[in-house]
Amino acid sequence: MNDTKRIFAVGLLVAILIAVVVAQFASSSPDGLEYVAEQEGFAAAATDHDLGDTPLADYGEALTSNDGLNTAVAGLIGTLATLGLGYGIFWLARRTNHAPPEAP
């Protein structure tokens, strides 16, 4: 495993651990904008999300009766989905006007 692959593997493991394990300890209080909206009285202006009834809505809140499991599943899927979409877009965006780097 070369160095870049090792960094990638370690980084991905850390990201998954954050999304699956550390996220279990996340505060459930409203975030800054939600709080301000509640305090200032415009929270009710929010309308239902178009995809609010999909299985992973609100990070899988209604997936099972086990909140920890829901967060873990949502965290894992979300981390991998972001990696996949990011990888794809950066692959399409990458610099192509130079010779490709040597094979690993």
């Binding site: 954050i18 505060s27 209080s29 975030d31 009710a44 929010a46 999300h49 995809l51 965006a93 610099r95």
Partner: protein, 224 residues
């Protein structure tokens, strides 16, 4: 920080949607000027990391939490325009997979977090780095402070959108004060997390950090 549907009227949301789409096009083009094939996996990883970190809300006061925005973090690691792409990718996944952040508000959120948070935040970082030593400590300090300022700045992005097209008739003065107060607190957490992560990477591999003077790849601008 994620604006839901309904806070900002349709015309304003659509306008920001068009601006965000145009911005993403520019960001992808700019990224293509420097991001090499071998950097693609790490840039994707930065998006995954920002998504993961955004799941972890930390308490900032009684009954209020905040989470990482990650704009400066991403921009210092992969460059300001790739940072814009990172935040856009994160917001697209959150909006479409997790119903977090309204779909009609996607453009509003991309402008606040991607443009103000990453591109604007990187500009602040560069400004701060000019006054700091060009070593690991300078990079960490500049990144932490810029990240801390970028959060209230992004919240001001929402304030501007609220002034232009807010659907509620709440006095803008009190909304401004309340937004600024809470996001200054969240900014402290943002600054600490950003400094810790940038510190870990810059100590082990400064050559991989776009915003570090020791960066080994190509950049679209000269870092002095």
């Amino acid at each position: 920080m994620h604006i839901p549907d309904g806070f900002i009227n349709g015309a304003t949301s659509a306008g920001f949607g068009a601006a965000a789409a145009g911005g993403l096009g520019v960001a992808i083009k700019q990224t293509g000027r420097y991001l090499s094939e071998r950097q693609v996996p790490l840039a994707g990883l930065v998006a995954a990391f920002v998504f993961a970190a955004q799941m972890v809300n930390f308490p900032v006061s009684i009954g209020v939490s905040g989470h990482l925005l990650g704009g400066v973090l991403a921009a210092v690691l992969v460059g300001p325009w790739a940072g814009f792409v990172v935040l856009s990718v994160v917001l697209i996944v959150q909006g479409f997979v997790f119903a977090d952040g309204g779909l009609s508000a996607l453009g509003l959120n991309i402008v606040n977090m991607g443009f103000v948070g990453a591109v604007g935040g990187y500009w602040l970082y560069r400004l701060l780095l000019k006054a700091l030593p060009k070593d690991g400590r300078g990079v960490i300090l500049a990144a932490g402070i810029a990240a801390g300022i970028a959060v209230p700045l992004a919240a001001m992005g929402f304030f501007a959108q609220y002034v232009i097209g807010g659907t509620a008739s709440v006095s803008t003065g009190t909304v401004f004060a309340s937004l600024l107060g809470t996001h200054l607190l969240i900014g402290i957490g943002e600054g600490i997390i950003t400094a810790l992560v940038i510190g870990a990477v810059v100590h082990s591999r400064p050559d991989l950090v776009y915003g570090a003077p020791a960066y080994a790849g190509e950049r679209t601008e000269v870092l002095r």
